[in-house]
Amino acid sequence: MSVASDTDSTPQRGGIMRLWYDSEARQVIIQIFTIAVLFALVFYLVRNAVINLDAIGKSLGFDFLFQPANYDINQSFLEYDSRSSNLKAAIVGLLNTFLVAGLGIFIATIVGFVMGVLRLSKNFLMNRLVYCYVEAMRNVPVLLWILLVHGFIVVNMPGPRQALGLGESFFFSNRGINMPSPLPEPLFWATAITFILGVIGAIVFKRYAKKIQDETGKILPVLYVSFGLIVVLPVIVYFITGAPLNWETPAMQGFNFQGGYVVKPELIALTLALALYTSAFIAETVRSGILAVNYGQTEAAGALGLRNNRTLQLVVIPQAMRVIVPPLTSQYLNLTKNSSLAIAIGYMDITATLGGITLNQTGREMECMILVMAIYLCISLAVSSFMNWYNNRIKLIER
């Protein structure tokens, strides 16, 4: 009866208000309203932009990308000079971003995992030391670390003439690190090919060993065989072919070093600061990941007769990785995005080339910023989809 009286009473609230009291209709109304407001806002902003651009006689267009850039980039993987196009400058910048992000992620991961494990150590002193390191690193802005390291190298390191040498081939000075560059002779390809074959062989052998273990329970010595294939074999080939690799060592000529590779202070400062800053966050992630594995798992592994290292390798780490990977992904992304701070010390990454000098010289704020943002968005999406794939692969498969 009450249902009937409800349907009787609602129409009395009258016409259009009836829709508002129907929860489904209300949801539709709210959504239509939201979208309408959003479209109105976008329309308004775009209209303003069109009027404003018209007023100063600018038009949108990307032809500036193919005009000469007219500026130099001091570190480049590609052949680049000031007559190259803005597009090429942007690509060089993008490659520099990748270089810093890649190096940074590599160092941050290693340092972060080591610190995370040491933070859990029972040793009181080591524990406290790592705690101080982590807190000092992550409570100070990364930009400050970048400037501090850069300032230290440029101001406090000795000049090239008094450079600190490591043997006769590595030199540390306020112009960066000078190191030998390899000069391969023709026969060197044999070593390179052996190395690649060795890696492939190791992967195949690992699969084979897993198959054997699944079928018979026999454990093959994967580590030794891989080491032999990847390291020993290429070394043997290298010496058989007569050591066909020379090194060009840097030497002092005039006021600076000639020959060899130079790692610029900007690259060192940026990589080191980003990597150490991020490593503090990774250390905390690793620590909480390992702590999240129930101690019963370790005890159970012990009861099954696994040794300590096997317990770590087969029981603790695989389970800890499930907790570690999602926050690790966001740390990698943070590092990549933070690499845009390069602009503060004049390292030419994508933000400093396309979003910095090109923007200022051509006055194309709109196009440059849209491109830079789109590039960072693509990198973010690519990295997070790769890590999601990895995460899905290692996650717990429940019944």
């Binding site: 709210i30 080591m126 807190e135 000092a136 409570n139 802005p141 501090l148 968005l377």
Partner: protein
């Protein structure tokens, strides 16, 4: 037999534990030298400490020069760090270029900040209700005090803001406004309405996908194109809006984590009680979700506070900006390490304090339902 008393079975009083299981010797054994690897780690740490501590102490404290008039004079007085510079520039570090005769206004605002913070941070202070009202009104009061232009206060150009003052203005504004905005975004992303969900998700993912620096560039170079012709507004205000939007996207993700960890039964129970959507959220869902996400929220605050340094890239002089421009001062040439270490100390105290407070809060709100 003479000195050994005999007891009935089970009546023997408890003996003290063996000497080698208690006391500092045992602690040292357990924590420093128990196993081979432990001993190696101890020796390694002692060596590291030996490398770091004496050198640092000499350079930054013992051999340091506290007062001098120039870098050259510093170098004559001692071979350690030259702190004289900090004293020389202290006012700029704190206020930027805020007019000297008006500095009582930021000072007053700073004192009021603590008055406004107290009722928010601690719940056992008297008259907390009125205190919270004051806290709500504080952003407006502080804004009026600093910028002026009304009530007979002399207007101050925001381009004169700098140093610690600017850092705190951006940090406090971002923190204050990003939390409510983040809550709304998180609720939007968690909502059942597809249109609202999509809009919030796209916004959050876009902001999280680009570096803050590009957003600041947008604020400084591009934003004026999207305003009605002839209008423009203050650069500081544009930066504040961008920083708030940026932090709110991260905040939304943290709070969404809290929302997702609530069991579905809570929502269903609220529905069964006949609560409407906003009542459910206000009374049931958010109190629990926010409590769970406190560590994440404070981490976002700390991140935001550190990110305020990025404004130096668009030419604003916050505390790091003052430091950076000071490094290139010819009279004090070559002091980058001292200056940056000083600024690092400032940030460390602020951020470490925040993280300690979050631990206190977690402990206080921990009601025994931890899973």
């Amino acid at each position: 037999m003479s000195d050994a008393k005999s007891y009935e079975p089970g009546q023997h009083p408890s003996l003290p534990p063996p000497k080698n299981l208690v006391g500092w010797q045992r602690w040292v054994w357990d924590n420093l030298f128990g196993t081979v690897s432990n001993t190696v780690l101890t020796l390694l740490s002692v060596y590291l400490l030996y490398l770091i501590i004496p050198g640092m102490l000499d350079y930054f404290v013992l051999d340091a020069v506290i007062s001098a008039n120039s870098r050259a004079e510093c170098a004559e007085l001692g071979k350690g760090a030259c702190w004289a510079f900090i004293g020389d520039r202290f006012q700029v570090f704190i206020y930027g270029f805020y007019p000297a005769e008006l500095r009582w206004r930021p000072n007053l605002a700073f004192v009021l900040l603590f008055v406004a913070l107290a009722p928010v941070l601690y719940d056992n202070i008297p008259f907390r209700k009125y205190g919270l009202m004051f806290s709500l009104a504080f952003p407006i009061i502080a804004g009026v005090l600093m910028v002026g232009g009304v009530f007979g206060l002399e207007p101050v150009d925001t381009r004169l803001f700098g140093g610690v003052l600017l850092t705190i203005v951006i940090g406090v504004t971002g923190i204050t406004f990003s939390l409510p905005l983040g809550i709304l975004l998180a609720l939007g992303r968690y909502s059942n309405l597809p249109a609202i969900k999509i809009v919030c998700t796209v916004f959050i993912e876009f902001i999280r996908g680009v570096p803050l620096i590009t957003l600041l560039f947008v604020a400084s170079t591009m934003l004026s194109y999207f305003l009605p012709p002839g209008t423009s507004f203050d650069l500081l205000l544009r930066v504040l809006i961008m920083v708030t939007l940026f932090a709110s996207a991260y905040m939304a993700e943290v709070i969404r984590g809290g929302l997702q960890s609530l069991p579905k039964g809570q929502f269903e129970a609220a529905d069964a009680m006949g609560l409407k959507y906003w009542q459910t959220m206000r009374l049931i869902v958010l109190p629990q979700a926010l409590k769970i996400s406190i560590p994440g929220i404070v981490n976002t605050f700390i991140g935001l506070y550190k990110d305020t340094t990025l404004v130096i890239v668009i030419g604003m002089l916050d505390v790091l900006g003052v430091a950076k421009s000071a490094v290139s001062d010819p009279v004090w040439n070559g002091l980058s390490v001292e200056i940056y270490v000083f600024v690092a100390g400032f940030f460390f105290i602020c951020c470490f304090g925040m993280s300690r407070y979050s631990m206190y809060l977690e402990k206080k709100l921990h009601t025994g339902h931890k899973r």
